[in-house]
């Protein structure tokens, strides 16, 4: 036990004293602080410009449009100009001047009204995303309606208030509010994905490099292999978790400091319920250890650090698939794939967390999944230490997994 602690301490310090670890953490934290401070910076330096441009309705366009009314008395040009919201809309007399203005770029577009329900849209170039006629068409149609209702002797405002009755809705969520949880669940899942993939590689490389520089032979004779692999995995886990925690804490503090400038706009991200955080910690930690054990064992199967990436490819592919299933499952937490994945040890740590956070899941399901994951993680730890012990002194070509299992379960080992 004492040796486990010594190995653990040594491995953690390997990370904490590693320059790239320190620099990467500092850069991420720095970017977060800057990102969180952008609204404050904007308010401090650009506040006056922003407000004057803001306007009251929030929607103001300084674009100019022109139209010609060839429908005569049947169409009310004044009403059209009054209700047009796309910018400045002026009336032209002749088609030539209108087309000229459009061709010169003075006008965004021109409209030639031929009847109350027909018009020509005159533009310079037809672009894929030309939207200049949307605002016009809305106003055009409303003008037609108004005059129509007027001719029937009905007050248009009355009809309007009937059609667009101001209905108010309040949602009472009995289960989980997926919409609000989406962002923080995504951030947590992605953070977990990122930490596992990075630290998995690091642990595998660290094991392989001890083989390639032959420190292994001295290590294995100095202490039990269990201490070595467990110390390494726990060391990597603590380094990764503390880095993630530091990043999250930095983001939260930076947000708190800039909260007024954000106008509380990100409260929903940082307002994660404790129960969700708890399940994230439990599933995340076990899944993290589970994968680190696998990465560590795979690292022991190669003799050179260059071979590590080839050796860990299968588990990386599985891991990326797990991430994809979980993220897709966030759109539909009741999907069968996600449900199945939430019990399979390879994916349950992520999939079950998504279900807990965004879907509805019973306590016994969570407990069962956690139990399966715990048992498998313990088993994987045991298996990893066996593979590690066996792999540590096999030099030469990378060992195939099938051979490993053959050797593990043959007599004598």
């Amino acid at each position: 036990m004492k040796n486990l602690w010594i190995v653990l301490k040594f491995e953690i310090m390997n990370f904490y004293k590693n320059k790239s670890f320190i620099i990467a953490t500092a850069i991420i934290c720095g970017l977060l602080i800057i990102g969180m401070s952008i609204p404050t910076i904007r308010d401090t330096f650009f506040s006056s410009d922003e407000e004057s441009a803001g306007g009251e309705d929030g929607y103001v366009s300084d674009q100019a449009f022109g139209f010609i009314n060839n429908a005569g008395e049947t169409f009310d040009s004044e009403t059209l100009q009054e209700i047009f919201q796309g910018g400045e809309l002026s009336e032209f007399d002749s088609r030539d001047t209108l087309e000229e203005a459009v061709a010169d770029g003075e006008l965004e577009a021109g409209f030639l009204i031929t009847s109350p329900v027909e018009y020509q849209h005159i533009i310079r170039n037809n672009e894929m995303t030309d939207s200049s006629h949307f605002a016009f068409e809305q106003a055009f149609q409303e003008t037609y309606r108004r005059s129509g209702f007027e001719s029937l002797g009905i007050e248009y405002e009355a009809v309007e208030s009937l059609i667009h009755a101001p209905i108010q809705r309040q949602t009472v969520v009995l289960g989980t509010d997926s919409a609000a949880n989406y962002l923080y669940t995504y951030i947590l899942v992605f953070g977990l994905y990122f930490v596992i993939i990075v630290y998995g590689q690091l642990v595998a490389t660290s094991v392989a490099s001890e083989k390639s520089n032959r420190a292994m032979e001295v290590l294995v004779t100095s202490t039990k292999t269990e201490n070595l692999i467990f110390g390494k995995v726990f060391g990597g886990a603590i380094a990764g978790a503390s880095q993630l925690a530091l990043i999250i804490a930095t983001a939260m503090l930076a947000y708190q400091a800039n909260r007024s400038a954000w106008d509380g706009g990100l409260d929903f991200i940082f307002d994660i319920p404790l129960s969700i955080l708890g399940s994230f910690a439990a599933f995340g930690l076990l899944g993290y250890l589970f994968f680190l054990f696998l990465f560590g064992a795979l690292g022991a199967l190669v003799s050179r650090t260059e071979d590590v990436s080839t050796s860990v490819t299968p588990i990386t592919i599985i891991f990326v698939a797990v991430f994809a299933i979980s993220v897709m499952g966030m759109q539909n937490t009741e999907g069968m794939l996600l449900k199945v994945a939430s019990f399979v040890p390879f994916s349950s740590f992520m999939a079950m967390f998504v279900r807990v956070s965004m879907g509805s899941v019973t306590n016994w399901e969570v407990g069962l999944s956690l139990g399966i994951l715990l048992a498998t993680t313990l088993f994987t730890g045991w298996l990893a230490s066996k593979i590690y012990r066996m792999g540590t002194l096999m030099y030469g070509n990378p060992v195939k997994l099938t051979e490993v299992f053959k050797m593990l379960f043959s007599s004598g080992q």
């Binding site: 032959r214 292994m216 294995v220 100095s222 039990k224 002194l393």
Partner: protein
């Protein structure tokens, strides 16, 4: 302490590497473990260190199964292994702690050994920045840091210049004086002759010769004499002896500056000398032949394989 290695067998795949290796070592004595490249020395030592599992055979310490973890062992592996990117002192302390020293004591011992081996100035340098010989010395400091009761050194002299080899010889001598149990392998006979009372010579995975070095040399010298003549060349002398004294001689060989003569069983040196004087030889040198370890080694393990 009395360490017995009994009948070790080991194969890797279809290749049988050890065919029943047995030998014994005692505290206060050094066993020289000899053999050519690929003879099985390192495999035997790795089995002793529990790095490999033997297919058959056992290792006993004072009659009980030997468990590596229960003893302080200083092990210098054949392929040196430390962390190239870590500072010298950091890794020495780490290994010291792993082998049961407290942090303070590990630091103290590390400094003592770095001083002793003359590499104190590299204490806070990364290992990879040191020369090969100095890295070897750091590895030796790591081996002795926990004041081991059993010392297992696999080719400890390879890579050391004569001055450093002398330092290591002094250390090994000191370990023997301190009644440590020392096993070291080498194919450099000179070192083994210097301080090993016992040897075990293995060849193709078998012990072909073992025991007290003096006795072995004596046995090898038995009934062999050396002879040098002032007037005749070696070849003339050889022919003369083979012609005149064939009934008495088993074999006559030319060595560097003398003939090595093996007598027929039952004949003794006085009889031989009498006859030699009768032949009117101008005897410049006559004596008992004492083989070097190298001679024995070449004879026992000299086949080309």
């Amino acid at each position: 302490m009395h360490l017995e290695i009994k009948n070790l067998y080991k194969s890797f795949g279809d290749t049988q590497v050890l065919h029943g290796i047995s030998f014994e070592v005692e505290s206060g004595k050094a066993l020289g473990f000899l053999g050519r490249n690929g003879a099985g020395k390192t495999t035997t030592l790795r089995i002793l260190m529990n790095l490999f599992k033997q297919n058959q055979g056992e290792i006993l310490l004072d009659g009980k199964p030997f468990k590596v973890q229960e003893h302080q062992i200083g092990y210098l592996p054949e392929e040196r292994g430390l962390y190239p990117k870590k500072k010298v002192i950091e890794q020495l302390v780490y290994f010291g702690e792993l082998r049961g020293l407290g942090r303070k004591k590990a630091k103290e011992n590390a400094d003592i050994w770095l001083e002793r081996l003359g590499v104190t100035q590299y204490r806070n340098k990364k290992l990879e920045s040191l020369s090969k010989g100095n890295q070897q010395k750091v590895q030796l400091a790591e081996t002795f840091i926990c004041d081991p009761e059993i010392v297992v050194l696999d080719e400890p002299f390879s890579g050391l210049d004569p001055v450093n080899a002398q330092i290591l010889k002094d250390i090994i001598r000191e370990q023997i004086e301190k009644k440590k149990l020392v096993i070291f392998s080498s194919h450099q006979m000179g070192y083994i002759e210097e301080f090993c009372k016992d040897i075990a010579l293995i060849h193709h995975g078998k012990v072909v010769l073992q025991g007290n070095l003096k006795d072995i040399k004596g046995n090898y010298g038995m009934n062999r004499l050396t002879l040098k003549d002032g007037k005749r060349s070696m070849e003339e002398l050889k022919q003369l002896l083979q012609g005149e004294m064939s009934s008495m001689l088993q074999s006559v060989e030319t060595a560097k500056e003398q003939l090595i003569i093996e007598l027929q069983p039952g004949r003794d040196k006085r009889e031989f000398l009498q006859r030699a004087l009768d032949l009117d030889l101008d005897i410049e040198g006559f004596g008992l032949y004492e083989p070097t370890l190298e001679d024995i080694f070449v004879e026992k393990a000299g086949d080309i394989a």
